[in-house]
């Protein structure tokens, strides 16, 4: 039906596998993002021919407020701008922006809200990393 496997012969997944060096993370959130990206794209150490650089921005927004002025729900909104460049030529092979959000409740106790916040960050980084990899596989045009 016209679909070809990404990890199959000629697919972008196989072409990029272990060929991409992801930018070094600089914060706990970025560590989770890079960990998932490396899990999908491989480490790309000495064999790397492409560099994936990114800018991560997250923002916590109060989502719902009760009539007694208590915030009961937060959304963690994340945006990542990424660029995939060929290392020797420096030519940009793919770039884009992905965004998404995860929610957590704040009606529980302080430690429940804290656990929710940390877990929301972990889930958001997984979602953003998956979106980047999906976009890469679908839109990258690798030089011959």
């Amino acid at each position: 039906c016209g679909f070809t496997p990404v990890y199959g012969p000629g697919g972008a997944g196989r072409a990029l596998r272990d060929r991409v060096r992801v930018q070094e993370p600089d914060s706990p959130d970025e560590y989770l993002l890079v960990r998932t990206l490396e899990d999908r794209l491989g480490r790309g150490g000495a064999t790397a021919r492409y560099g994936l650089s990114f800018t991560l921005r997250t923002q916590t927004k109060g989502q719902s407020l009760t009539v007694t002025n208590e915030t009961t729900r937060y959304s963690l909104v994340g945006k990542v701008d990424y660029t995939l460049t060929a290392l020797e030529t420096g030519q940009v092979v793919a770039s884009g922006q992905v965004e998404n959000f995860t929610g957590y409740s704040a009606t529980g106790s302080t430690v429940e809200t804290l656990a929710g916040e940390r877990d929301a960050a972990k889930r958001l980084m997984t979602i953003l990393a998956d979106q980047i990899v999906t976009r890469l596989y679908a839109t990258v045009d690798l030089p011959a």
Partner: protein
């Protein structure tokens, strides 16, 4: 020359100017007459004129205009005629105009430059507004008997200054000092603002900025109204590898019976080198309603935190000390954990022969309730060690198989709770195999479809005691943890038994930049887990169906939605979020729907939407509005409208906000704000310039 002038500067003044011209005519009296594209250069000063006559005996230059003198790029003098010395530093200019940053203009009949540093202007008009040729007065101007500009200190001293709006005198200053616009950090008044709230009445805030050297400053803002006298302080200090900011206020008002109130927020961050980063964020407030009364950020819990992190490609360390001070009526302060210590470290290893990845992690969290009563005063210290090995293979046909197995050991030390032993230990082996088969298809028109079915068979077996679940009562289920082996947010609860997770991801990328993506997922369990609440969507043997979708284009439109569809085909949770910006309109909003769930102590549905938009009526006027509406209890919690008029020389900001929430310590209040800033002298924000048209308006 004041003694303070750096020596280099004085030497440079002595250097004579260099002259370039198309033609130089030497008169019998040995005067040099230069004509045609005449330019003279001296240090950072550049003068261009139509004709310059240089009398070598006296060293004077007689210059015929139009003259333009550029001083290090940010100050420009335009004049019709001038007599200057050979260093272009001293002399008299006629019909002169002094312009800063191509915006603020000082126009005067006569300008005298003295000592290469001072410029005196007589009968001056100062404005940053566009002056129309049709003789209409600019929107605002400061007329002054004389203005002296000190080029070194970059200050403007006005004498007999009158602030005129549309040529109507509005304010009179016998003497006024303003920093010249090229000075980025100068002590002085910042833009005043008027604030009217139902509780405090109409008050005025007049901030004054003290510059303390290059790396420190203090802003003092008195705020006076019929009901309050407040002194607001903000102190900032920049270090080589970090910075701190302390904000606070001391208030005496008649809203409460205690005689003084206030708040203190201190934040800061330091780069300690070797990738260690230290940050702190401390908050304290005198009483629960202060933040709301004075329009400060609307925290309902004050969280103070000191955090140290170190992140590299293969390791992440995070340590934090957190203190909570709850402002919520519904919470009894000493029965909620207010002191929390948290540390986590993960390391990733990549064995070459074995392949795959080892993830070793240690984390520990201790939380304490100030009450030491039994059960309600429970304190817990928890530590977890976790080791995991994961590896993936890809078959020739493009199927990707991920194998993952791991083991975790938890130990809990519980005090002030007789229902639990002093220690609880647990050990949990786990393993999972996930299969993915991502595919793409590109149609003739360049549209690419992406389709990825995913299936995971996971198993985990919890051995040992059962600790109190203090952290993991609220569980979320989305694409981020569809394939997680334990979907509880923290280690105090773990999933047990075998679970089959299936999912499908689809996306469509059009060359026009439009992208649509959708995901679905569900988890089937061998044994239902009682610790999952209904609205988590993971209760029972079959989880709710997770549905998620996103529509996005390259030019600012993004709509993201996620929901959990339960087996009676109704949603137990819906979250929508959208941003939409299109030429003159920006609109962002969100919607939330949560079902009733006693386990999450939610006795009524939560159904609320929030919308925030702005519309640029015309280049100068922008209207903004925002509304937060609680559909379940059918009334608004926040509403606000705003109007901003901005042109090249003034920014007027009007805002009206109404908060409807009320509690024992907080009453509903309406808040009206008005600020006016004369741009050129106010802090520049935003990049575009809007020019008021010279027409009839």
């Amino acid at each position: 020359q004041s003694p303070g002038t750096p020596a280099a500067e004085t030497a440079q003044d002595q250097l004579p100017a260099m002259l370039v011209a198309d033609q130089v005519f030497i008169t019998p009296e040995r005067q040099l007459v230069a004509e045609g594209n005449v330019e003279a250069f001296q240090g950072t000063t550049r003068l261009s004129a139509r004709k310059i006559t240089f009398d070598r005996a006296s060293g004077k230059l007689e210059i015929e205009g139009p003259i333009r003198i550029d001083q290090d790029g940010r100050m420009t003098i335009l004049a019709e005629a001038a007599d200057l010395d050979q260093g272009l530093q001293n002399g008299l200019l006629k019909g002169a105009r002094l312009v800063f940053d191509q915006q603020v203009q000082l126009a005067s009949l006569q300008m005298v430059r003295v000592g290469g540093r001072y410029t005196q202007l007589y009968k001056t008009s100062v404005t940053s507004c566009h002056v129309c040729e049709n003789g209409k007065p600019p929107l605002w101007q400061i007329r002054a008997r004389s203005v002296t500009h000190d080029q070194l200190e970059r200050q403007l001293y006005f004498e007999g200054a009158q602030l005129r709006v549309l040529d109507v005198p509005v304010f009179y200053f016998p003497a006024l000092r303003l920093p010249d616009p090229t000075l980025d950090r100068a002590s002085g008044f910042l833009k005043p603002s008027i604030r009217t709230t139902s509780q405090l009445g109409t008050g005025i805030k007049v901030p004054y900025f003290f510059r303390i050297g290059d790396s420190r400053d203090l802003t003092v803002t008195p705020y006076v109204s019929p009901h309050t006298k407040t002194m607001d302080l903000r102190y900032r200090q920049a270090f080589r590898h970090g910075g701190i900011e302390i904000k606070g206020a001391y208030t005496r008002d008649d809203l409460t019976d205690d005689d003084s109130r206030g708040y203190l927020f201190a934040t800061g961050g330091f780069d300690l080198g070797n990738r260690y980063k230290l940050s702190f964020d401390l908050k304290t407030v005198a009483d629960d309603a202060y933040l709301v009364d004075y329009g400060l950020p609307d925290y309902d819990r004050l969280r103070s935190e000191i955090e140290l992190t170190r992140t590299t490609r293969d390791s992440a360390f995070r340590g934090a000390l957190i203190h909570y001070d709850s402002l919520r009526d519904s919470e009894i302060e000493d029965e909620i954990p207010t002191r929390i210590a948290d540390v986590s470290y993960e390391h990733r290893l990549f064995p070459t022969r074995l392949g795959g990845e080892f993830r070793l992690s240690l984390n520990s969290r201790a939380y304490e309730r100030t009450s030491s009563a039994n059960i309600v005063g429970r304190d817990v210290t928890r530590a977890t060690a976790d080791a995991e090995w994961r590896r993936h293979w890809i078959t020739a046909s493009g199927l990707r198989a991920d194998w993952e197995m791991g083991f975790s050991a938890d130990i809990f030390k519980i005090s002030n709770d007789s229902t639990y032993g002093n220690h609880v230990t647990r050990s949990t082996p786990r393993a999972a195999l996930s299969l993915r088969y991502p595919m793409t298809m590109t149609t003739g028109t360049g549209v690419t479809h992406f389709l990825e079915p995913v299936v995971q068979l996971g198993w985990s077996d919890v051995h040992g005691g059962t600790p109190p679940i203090d952290e993991s009562r609220f569980v979320e289920f989305d694409q981020g943890n569809l394939l997680a082996l334990s979907r509880f947010p923290s280690e105090d609860a773990r999933e047990d038994g075998t679970a089959l997770a299936i999912g499908v991801n689809w996306a469509r990328f059009a060359p026009s930049g439009w992208q649509v993506s959708a995901s679905a997922g569900q988890v089937f369990r061998s044994v239902a887990d009682p610790d999952f609440s209904i609205s988590s969507g993971l209760a029972g043997k079959d989880s709710d169906l997770l549905l998620a979708a996103q529509i996005k284009n390259a030019s600012g439109i993004a709509f993201t939605a996620r929901g959990l569809l339960n087996d009676s085909f109704s949603f137990s949770k819906v979250e929508l979020r959208s941003d939409w910006s299109h030429r003159r309109t920006t609109l962002s909003g969100s919607y939330l729907w949560l079902g009733i769930d006693p386990q999450e102590s939610r006795m009524a549905e939560v159904s609320e939407f929030w919308v925030d938009g702005s519309y640029k009526v015309n280049p100068s006027w922008t209207a903004t509005a925002n509304l937060r509406y609680d559909i379940a209890s059918d009334n608004a919690t926040y509403a606000g409208v705003g109007l901003i008029y901005r042109n090249e020389c003034v920014t007027v900001d009007l805002s009206l906000n109404r908060r409807y929430t009320s509690s024992t310590s907080v009453e509903p209040s309406t808040n009206f704000g008005f600020t006016i800033a004369l741009s050129g002298f106010a802090v520049e924000s935003g990049t575009e310039k809007y020019r008021r048209s010279c027409g009839k308006s």
